[in-house]
Symmetry: C2
Subunit: 365 residues, 2 copies
């Protein structure tokens, strides 16, 4: 047999068995030993961004003079993996404030995050570092970085508990190393956060990948909605704990919601034609546990109370105009104890199962 | 047949065929269509770093006051992939100045970089973002970031050519998008470059992974040598275009080498006991093409002339003390046209083949 034919046969048999292995191994994650991931293609690239330049002529023998030189910045950075026999729509993941693509990789205690979980469910997975964050650090706008001690604030804002106590039943590992890893998955803005710059890059990504599903977290919610208004290739949005950046029709913007974290949680207005784009796709908005249903003296809890109020108003407004937004409060569907990071919490497979069911229900898988 | 037994059988058959597929598919890369990557495990974590804190007591209801709060910073960030049937020693990759882990991922024109190439050769692969760079951006020391136009300088320093001309025969794609991607794989320091902080993190990584091989690029060379002096688990070093940070015995430090890029290329001294650690492992130092063998009016070329002089002195010194350093000038072994990034150049499979042969020769695979 010729070497090439032999290889093709082996590859074909491998792929058949890998498929069988996936079907048979659906429960493998909970049984400890994981099956190998079979990746048809993986890689990375920059997308979007702009170029600035200094007037003048570059002198090759005086390279430290900025004249005639350029800077390519404000792009997003993307690492992607495509499994064999990928489903129709890839999942693109956008992190929240202070985070980067790591959000979706290994959990703080080293379990698999949504990157691996959804690869195993045969989705292509694109992980973004938004413009001016992480690997997409080259910014066209200056930024001063100062090392501020702020982690006890984040511990509360991300709803692990009220420092130094974890919430009873919280789905976060209690060992010291997990908290160490959790704090170290933060990385600063290297330029001002700019929803417009970020959503331009995401729209450019969708122009490249074609139709897909966008999954956002927290602060990423805002650029996510803006991206939908810029790209018809976003066929659905899944957002975890979106807290700000909700767009309303210009004449229906609700009053800011006062809260103890950022004083006023504001929405913003967009032309009706843009807003209507949000009504044409299915959207699910998830919230975790330990969010009060009245105002609260703790600024973190008061903020999440306000965020949920705003999200409910927004869902109602989109749906009133013909949209399909579902707000899921995880504790109300029996999934308890989740923090601001349900996708990396101890029960993240259960959280993923809920998402898989929603995608199936909407015909998106 | 029980479901679990059936799954085990399928998995076993899959792994056998995957192994065959790898053996049979060794030439697949050059034939266009690539075989799937079969990954036993992949994930990410932070390693090393420190914790700073502000004196006082944290008040849960006043989370914006820094008192009693911490900042975890200065760690490195690692993304790893382990293929099925991995070889004994993983390869850990450290980028150079202005770069991050992306250096080793897709090339500017979208071909596979060393991450995928060496996964296909059954090495486990660890990609680092060094402390205060990329995803490891949380720094304990302040930094002001300003968007300086400097890319024509880098075009020359990275030896693509003398702007705006590419060197004849250079192994870099000439299309506009490749250069766009290349410039966008830069990302700034989010704190001062600190060889000691970075090598502490790398030593911590090797304490976690066990014995392995370190592959460094350019500025990464310096932290690489420092890491060898801190960790007995580094069993070999491969460095591409190391330009600075060579350690010599305290009483054998050579004079700085004048050059038009950074005025003086300096080496530094370490106690003999530390230096001797560099003599106990095999080391290969690679340089690409278009490096002059005399001084040059162009600062970039003058710098690389100086860097090679220093590297040759260093290799001679390590070998004189019983070491095993090989300096490979790629053009002298028939591999022509390489830039400062041989591992992502158009001929990077050939460059990888040379490395594979060296690893085999040293019994490291």
């Amino acid at each position: 047999m010729k070497k090439k034919t032999f290889r093709s046969l082996i590859v074909a048999l491998t792929l058949i068995l890998v498929s069988l292995s996936f079907s048979a191994g659906a429960v493998a994650q909970s049984s400890g030993k994981l099956e190998p991931l079979v990746i048809q293609q993986q890689g990375s690239f920059a997308v979007g961004g702009t170029v600035i330049s200094t007037p003048g002529t570059f002198n090759p023998n005086k390279p430290f003079e900025p004249a005639g030189q350029t800077l390519h910045g404000d792009h997003a950075y993307v690492f992607y993996q495509k499994p064999v026999n990928a489903r129709k729509y890839p999942l693109t993941f956008l992190h929240g404030a202070g985070q980067f693509s790591k959000t979706w990789e290994s959990t703080p205690d080293g379990r698999e995050g949504f990157q691996n979980i959804f690869l195993r469910r045969n989705f292509s997975v694109y992980l973004l570092d938004q413009s001016r964050r992480g690997g997409a650090g080259r910014s066209t706008v200056a930024m001063n970085l100062t090392p501020n001690t702020d982690e006890q604030m984040w511990f509360q804002q991300f709803r692990l508990g009220v420092w130094p106590d974890f919430y009873p039943g919280v789905q976060f590992p209690k060992d010291e190393e997990s908290l160490n890893q959790y704090f170290r998955q933060m990385t600063p803005n290297t330029g001002p956060f700019d929803m417009d710059v970020i959503s331009d890059a995401i729209a450019a990504l969708y122009a490249r990948t074609g139709p897909g599903i966008l999954v956002t977290h927290s602060q990423g919610g805002g650029p996510g909605w803006a991206s939908v208004m810029k790209s018809p290739n976003i066929k659905a949005v899944v957002t975890y704990e979106s807290g700000s950046g909700f767009p309303f029709p210009d004449n229906e913007v609700p009053a800011p919601i006062p809260n103890g974290f950022n004083k006023q949680l504001e929405a913003y207005g967009v032309p009706m034609d843009d807003f209507k784009k949000l009504t044409r796709i299915p959207i699910v908005v998830y919230y975790g546990d330990n969010i009060p249903n009245t105002r609260h003296e703790n600024p973190a809890l008061d903020y999440w109370y306000a965020a949920v109020q705003m999200a409910e108003k927004w869902a109602e407004t989109v749906n009133k105009h013909g949209g399909d937004v579902t707000v899921v409060h995880l504790p109300k569907v029996g999934i308890k104890g989740n923090t601001h990071f349900p996708f990396s919490d101890l029960n993240n497979v259960e959280v993923a199962d809920h998402l898989s069911a929603w995608l199936a229900k909407k015909g998106l898988d």
